[in-house]
């Protein structure tokens, strides 16, 4: 009867999905910025705590009398091995948790807002996998960009405060290795949280049906 067969739709490669997500992200820049703000603040806090701890430890290790005076003036216990106590760890943990919930929340909102868009894409032939990819990339990108910005901000604040408290000693004993390691830790934690937060909303988005495209907003 029919002179051709119905085929199975082929998936879209990650590279193309990335291009689609990236250009969408740029055009919704203000919206993305709000999502990113949460990540930036949480990661800046984490990076600040890690880096300033490294700086203080390096300054204490210098065993300079004049510097020890300055350290004690800023309430540093020069006999302790590290300034980070369990209270600080708790605070960092809480801020990261808030960041995780924030990303999930804003991505869920993005899915709800764009239900019709998802339905339309499916009417055009998009497979679930394409929807998963684009939402996953969008959320992860926001998280990773936010993380990098947060790390730079945290570094700037940590060095800035050290400069105020300890003046040029900061640069004399700047623990470059420790700072780089701290930044990498923050990068791994921030990106990890963002990517993890992206999974749920992406799958939720893919479950939306093509018939949603027909919805008329009253």
């Amino acid at each position: 009867m029919a002179n051709h067969n119905i085929e199975e739709q082929v998936g879209i490669p990650w590279g193309i999905a990335f291009t689609v997500s990236w250009s969408g992200l740029k055009r919704r820049f203000m919206r993305s910025l709000i999502t990113m703000a949460g990540v930036i603040l949480a990661i800046a806090f984490l990076a600040y705590m890690l880096i300033s701890d490294k700086i203080v430890v390096a300054l204490v290790a210098a065993k300079d009398d004049e510097l020890n005076d300055l350290l004690q003036k800023s309430n540093v216990d020069i006999f302790a091995s590290s300034g980070t106590d369990s209270m600080m760890l708790l605070l960092i943990g809480l801020s990261l948790l808030t960041c995780l919930v924030g990303i999930i929340n804003s991505m869920l909102m993005a899915v709800t807002e764009r239900v019709k868009e998802i339905g339309t894409l499916k009417c055009l032939g998009a497979l679930d996998s394409f929807i998963v990819k684009t939402y996953f990339i969008e959320s992860s990108l926001q998280g990773v960009i936010g993380t990098i910005t947060g790390i730079i901000l945290g570094l700037a604040v940590a060095v800035g405060i050290a400069l105020i408290n300890y003046g040029t000693y900061t640069f004399s004993y700047l623990p470059l290795n420790g700072i780089v390691i701290s930044m990498l830790i923050a990068l791994v934690i921030g990106s990890g949280i963002s990517v993890f937060a992206a999974i749920g909303p992406a799958y939720l988005a893919a479950r939306k049906q093509p018939v949603e495209a027909m919805r008329v907003e009253e």
């Binding site: 009867m1 029919a2 119905i6 085929e7 199975e8 739709q9 082929v10 879209i12 193309i16 291009t19 689609v20 250009s23 969408g24 055009r27 919704r28 019709k116 868009e117 339309t120 894409l121 499916k122 009417c123 055009l124 032939g125 998009a126 497979l127 679930d128 394409f130 049906q209 093509p210 018939v211 495209a213 027909m214 008329v216 907003e217």
Partner: protein, 245 residues
């Protein structure tokens, strides 16, 4: 049999809402010939939209069968249905449904990309179709930067870019003024003749009647009246006199 691109046989849809059964469709049978322009008319709540969605494979009947080019839609898996939507059907919506974050060109090209075409070629194809619907000068505009009529033209270009056999248009003139609506109907008709496509349109726009080969009136989930050109033309004349200036 092979003359018909779409056949609907005893299509029934029952929604169960709590204890109550709602009969949205009560056994609709209808055949659509290749190259035909069919309008489905009916008030909201008539089952018109439900039937329309079944033809596009967006909804499945409780009983009965819809076939497209001889294939039963209910027997297709999700990937095959996506392939049908991509290659066989071009959707046009009342609210245009363009992706707000994509330019006119990207909105059309994405449809081509879903068909497996490389991005560069997709953009060239998209530009060619946009040119054809008269929007060659609006390629890089976002939907929010063009008028409603132009948005619907972008949507038509998007629906046509994969050379579908069928255009499914859901109230395509519903959000447009009389003149722009008429222009959209003319464009659809022009494309239908040029590309030999079948158009099925859900509408309550009387202007669309004069363009149609067949009109099906749906009421309470059943076809109340089925008329082909000639049978309803006189009627249209009188309606035209009242509504169209």
């Amino acid at each position: 049999m092979s003359d018909f691109i779409i056949t609907a046989k005893d299509v029934t849809k029952v929604y169960v809402m709590g204890e109550e059964e709602v009969h949205a469709l009560r056994g609709i049978s209808m055949n659509v010939k290749r190259g035909e322009y069919v309008s489905i008319m009916g008030p909201s709540g008539s089952g018109k939209s439900t039937f329309f969605n079944m033809i596009g494979g967006l909804d499945t009947p409780t009983a009965g069968e819809v076939t497209m080019e001889g294939y039963k839609l209910s027997e297709l898996n999700n990937r095959q249905l996506a392939w049908v939507r991509c290659h066989k059907i071009g959707f046009i919506f009342q609210g245009f449904n363009l992706i707000p974050a994509m330019t006119a060109l990207e909105n059309v090209a994405i449809s081509r990309i879903f068909a497996g075409v490389a991005p560069d070629q997709a953009r060239r194809d998209a530009a060619a179709v946009l040119e054809k619907v008269g929007l060659g000068h609006r390629l890089d505009h976002l939907p929010s930067e063009v008028s409603g009529g132009q948005q619907q033209r972008i949507a038509i270009a998007r629906a046509l870019v994969n050379r579908p056999a069928i255009i499914l248009a859901d109230e395509p003139t519903g959000n447009l003024d009389l003149k722009t609506g008429q222009e959209i109907i003319n464009l659809l008709n022009e494309m239908k003749r040029e590309l030999d496509i079948t158009i099925i349109s859900a509408t309550h726009d009387m202007k669309m009647l004069s363009a149609s080969d067949t009109v099906a009136w749906i009421k309470d989930g059943a076809i109340e009246r089925l008329a082909s050109k000639g049978e309803f033309e006189i009627e249209v004349g009188s309606i035209d006199g009242q509504t169209v200036v």
